[in-house]
């Protein structure tokens, strides 16, 4: 009995220590400059590796999600005789909610896990230690550009996701179900607000970007330098970031709508 209490306490202590280490990693690597700091080119290279390379999955997923939304939405709205609101429904759902959330979830699976594995392997093969002994701070050289690349990429990916999703919705609604395309687009144009819908969605995406990338680089940097440790860290990245995205989404939505 006492053993279980003790191990519970140990889990608590370990998670608090882990949060502390993650916090230190963040504060030390969020700013540029320092011994052997990364340059602008490193940032561009990382944006390419985490952002540009996630484009295909984001675009394909966005298109399908938009199509499904239109199909489901049409079948619900048609019962109330308000199919002309379909464009509004699809675009608001995507811009406010599904764009940021699904883009961030896909980003965590596609780029977050890759970041963790890459950094974990650099640690296991002593590349980070070697860097340190050459007078180059791995936090500044390796972590900083990756962290910023994620923060910059996720909002752009979320916006693309929503845009492609809206097209996907139009494809189903207008081309397949025969909805009048003026109704789809003009109702959307009349109801979607730039600040309240587009910008707030982007703020969500930016927050998710920070959190997912932070979790990914931390898990890699803190991984046990063995194949098992890296495997575990990669899984942790996906699990923790997915939960963090969904949890934060609720909090952010509540704050933005101001209804709770």
């Amino acid at each position: 009995m006492l053993k279980h209490v003790r191990s519970l306490g140990q889990v608590g202590v370990q998670s608090i220590q882990s949060i502390g280490r993650a916090g230190m990693l963040f504060t030390q690597s969020v700013t540029w400059g320092g011994p052997g700091s990364a340059g602008f080119l490193d940032l561009i290279r990382q944006i390419h590796s985490v952002g540009v390379r996630s484009l295909s999955i984001i675009i394909v997923a966005g298109f399908f999600v938009g199509m499904v939304l239109a199909l489901q939405g049409y079948n619900i709205l048609v019962k109330f005789g308000s199919v002309s609101a379909l464009g509004t429904m699809v675009s608001l759902t995507l811009l406010r909610e599904l764009g940021p959330v699904l883009a961030a979830l896909l980003f965590a699976g596609r780029a977050g896990s890759a970041l963790t594995a890459e950094i974990g392997l650099m640690k296991a093969t002593e590349q980070l230690s070697a860097m340190e002994m050459m007078g180059v701070d791995p936090l500044k050289r390796v972590i900083t550009p990756r962290l910023w690349a994620g923060v910059i990429s996720v909002p752009i990916l979320a916006l693309l996701f929503s845009t492609v999703g809206i097209w996907g919705g139009a494809f189903v609604a207008v081309d397949m179900l025969g909805l009048y395309d003026g109704a789809y687009w003009s109702n959307m144009a009349n109801t979607v607000e730039f600040y309240e819908d587009v910008v707030q969605g982007l703020i969500k995406a930016a927050v998710f970007g920070v959190v997912v990338t932070w979790i990914a680089v931390y898990q890699g940097y803190d991984a046990a330098p063995t194949s098992e440790g890296i495997g575990k860290a990669t899984t942790q990245t996906v699990v923790i970031s997915s939960l963090a995205i969904l949890g934060l989404d609720f909090i952010l939505t509540a704050v933005m709508l101001g209804g709770v």
């Binding site: 002593e126 230690s129 002994m133 050459m134 007078g135 180059v136």
Partner: protein, 270 residues
């Protein structure tokens, strides 16, 4: 013990890994411009000692002095400055950047730390690669190199900034005899040509004795022998002699501590 002939001094250092005591009042000094081999049974913390000198691990108490300045209490900036200009380290797994080719790996510290023009960096890198005999391999990636070549590239990279102190962590492990011979020659040659202070962690007794000026035998958290290979071989410390001769039994017992053998066997029948 404190004099300017010692490049690195370790004073009364205690170090814990978790709850296990690795070092307990360790005192040792490494003379400038010499090769000192740090030897001892596996798991005694030889690599830990190198990492404390490099400032990657901090001693729980005591001082580690490099050129008279305390690595443990130095600011982060000073520590990186010291590593950049004064220290090189060759890691067990070499730590080459797998996304860069041989040339770019060796050029990495030069490009990061200096504003030298590209053609000068090229000359410097080729000089370092020539010294390790791999000028012709400059376009290969680490995955295309043999174990011995990887280590030679890593060596070229760690001397790129012309350090005064170089530390080798298990440089002979897993090498064929020819590659081993090359590394031995390089360590000795670099030491003589550049006057580097070299610290070498190894448990290859024969190889280490060939090139080391001094041996430092570590066991049970303390230095149990320090001197030239001949002095230690003929010394009166039984444990040092057991280690150098590779005797399976002696002061370091063959058997892990256990209950009485007979009693243990009969206990199963009860």
């Amino acid at each position: 013990m404190s004099n300017s002939n010692n490049h690195v001094e370790v004073k009364d250092v205690t170090f814990y890994r978790g709850k296990r005591k690795i070092y307990d009042g360790l005192n040792v000094a490494f003379p400038r411009g010499k090769i000192t081999a740090i030897m001892g049974p596996s798991g005694t913390g030889k690599t830990t000692l190198l990492r404390m000198i490099g400032g990657q691990l901090k001693a729980d108490s005591g001082e580690v002095l490099v050129d008279g300045s305390n690595v443990g209490t130095m600011s982060r900036g000073d520590l990186f400055e010291l590593r950049k200009n004064k220290m090189g380290m060759l890691f067990q797994t070499s730590g080459l950047f797998t996304d860069l080719n041989v040339f770019d790996n060796v050029a990495f510290p030069l490009r990061t730390h200096t504003d030298l023009p590209d053609d000068m960096i090229r000359d410097l890198v080729l000089m370092k690669l020539e010294a390790v005999g791999l000028r012709g391999a400059r376009d290969l990636f680490p995955a295309e190199l043999s174990g011995g070549m990887v280590r030679r590239v890593a060596l070229a990279r760690s001397i790129a900034m012309d350090p005064e102190l170089i530390m080798y962590d298990e440089p002979f492990t897993g090498l064929d005899p020819i590659s081993m011979g090359m590394i031995l020659r390089l360590i000795r040659g670099l030491n003589e040509a550049l006057g580097l202070t070299s610290l070498l962690v190894s448990h290859d007794v024969e190889e280490s004795c060939q090139i080391a000026d001094y041996l430092c035998i570590v066991s049970g958290g303390k230095v149990i022998g320090f001197g030239t290979p001949d002095e230690l071989r003929n010394g009166d410390n039984a444990e040092v002699r057991q280690f150098l001769n590779g005797d399976p039994d002696g002061p370091v017992p063959f058997h892990y501590p256990a209950d009485d053998y007979r009693a243990d066997l009969f206990a199963g029948e009860a």
